[in-house]
Point group: C2
Chain length 232, copies 2
DNA sequence: CGATAACTTGACACAGCTCAACCTGGGTGG
DNA sequence: CCACCCAGGTTGAGCTGTGTCAAGTTATCG
């Protein structure tokens, strides 16, 4: 395998306090791997044998119910760790992870985890911060699912995606990975039909513009208004 | 303040690996405090100045929306740590915590946190396990809110409460703290009216028996069936 | 240039919300 | 100690948001 460049890690939060040599050390322990769009990295409740760093692309953590319904728990943007079951005192992965777009990852055997925590300054702190952030996201999801209507949930989910992965484009902000109505409905706990109707309606009003597997938000303020509107 | 007895902590997971002296040390640093039923221990986004151990009673973590709606995130049974913002890399509390019944807690200033993590064997591990468990609970909540109907959610919430805090009683298993229809609806993202209707119906079928602020489950199997039934 | 995955749209039904009116048990203060 | 108060609970009536069922259209890819 080609030697990995130190600049890959040096600026990422979990490693930002480390020197050249330590980064080199970490890279030499790592394996890099490429995944196709839609590939599964690991399955829920599988033995957590590796922890990962997402170098490029986006992945999502999801659950599949016994009835086969998909529930998307969260999205992980490039630059973050995932599969960090050990940080949660678990020996199995808590969710299935699959790639949303093509992805490049580094991974290490989980047996190195204690060493990473003990030896690399800032790694533990940043890891736990990441856990905290994800917990916060999940709380937001719970609150939204509990008190908001479908239209509001879809609106605020779109806003969150724009915020996390938006890319400026001609006439609006583009969500920077392929996303279907079904995906959006898995994130909001509704059906692809309802999402489709909402997007159609919003498109007529010029709030969004969507093609197949692609959504561009033209008027974020309108979505913000929709996401907080008092229903009735 | 009266000296606290070492047996209070010795058998609890975060401290189970520690010797007498270390437990003594920890107790001498602790402050004990009693809270009335329904008292607020701390508020969401408040500066996280202390971390807590719940010695007796039950507390719940909840969020209050700008519109004043309450969303219950989780329940903490006696013997667990809470308010452990630092374990999540946060400096503010992520939720409001209030007591469900009378509660006795110990607390320590958050400034001692790094010392607890570094010095007391097993404390870190157990803390992160607790975080992992709570994250798991939240995931379950998200899945349930996404794919289950109200009736199923209320049924499985009741089952969870029975499981976590159930006490064997004459004719069924009693949920061991005062709980209103409103509380249950805050946990399931519905209204107190719907919960009331469900409980009435279930009572007619002999599945539960409920008085004011009290619910007893007589036929857990029936609830299990309801919670997994394919709607339509 | 099929085949198929993604998407759209209409018609309809109903779970569960809202509004409203009413009970009731248990705590408390006069 | 008992009458009052009110938080907590019940139940009905009606409406509507959203799911379900169904039938179609349109991109994209091998």
């Amino acid at each position: 395998m080609a030697k990995l460049d130190e600049s890959l890690l040096a600026h990422l939060p979990p490693f930002s306090l480390l020197g050249r040599e330590q980064i080199r050390e970490i890279l030499d322990l790592a394996t890099s791997q490429r995944f196709e769009e839609g590939a599964t990295v690991y399955h829920e409740s599988e033995d957590a044998g590796r922890f990962y760093l997402l170098l490029d692309g986006t992945v999502r953590a999801l659950h599949i119910t016994p009835e086969g319904e998909h529930v998307t728990a969260l999205h992980v943007p490039a630059g973050q760790l995932f599969g960090i079951a050990r940080a949660l005192g678990r020996s199995t992965y808590p969710a299935t992870v699959e790639t949303v777009s093509e992805a490049i990852v580094l991974w290490w055997p989980m047996s190195l985890w204690p060493q990473f925590i003990a030896r690399y300054e800032g790694f533990a702190t940043e890891t736990y911060r990441t856990v905290g952030e994800r917990l916060g996201e999940m709380q937001t999801r719970i609150i939204e699912l509990s008190v908001l209507h479908v239209e509001q949930r879809v609106a605020s989910t779109l806003l969150r995606l724009v915020d996390q992965t938006g890319r400026k484009a001609e006439g609006g902000i583009l969500i920077d990975f392929p996303i279907t109505r079904q995906d959006l409905s898995d994130m909001t706990g509704t059906t692809l039909h309802t999402v489709s109707r909402l997007l159609s309606a919003w498109q007529k009003q010029g709030i969004v513009e969507s093609r197949r597997k692609q959504i561009m938000v033209c008027e974020p303020q309108s979505l913000t208004a929709l996401s907080t509107a008092r229903p009735a």
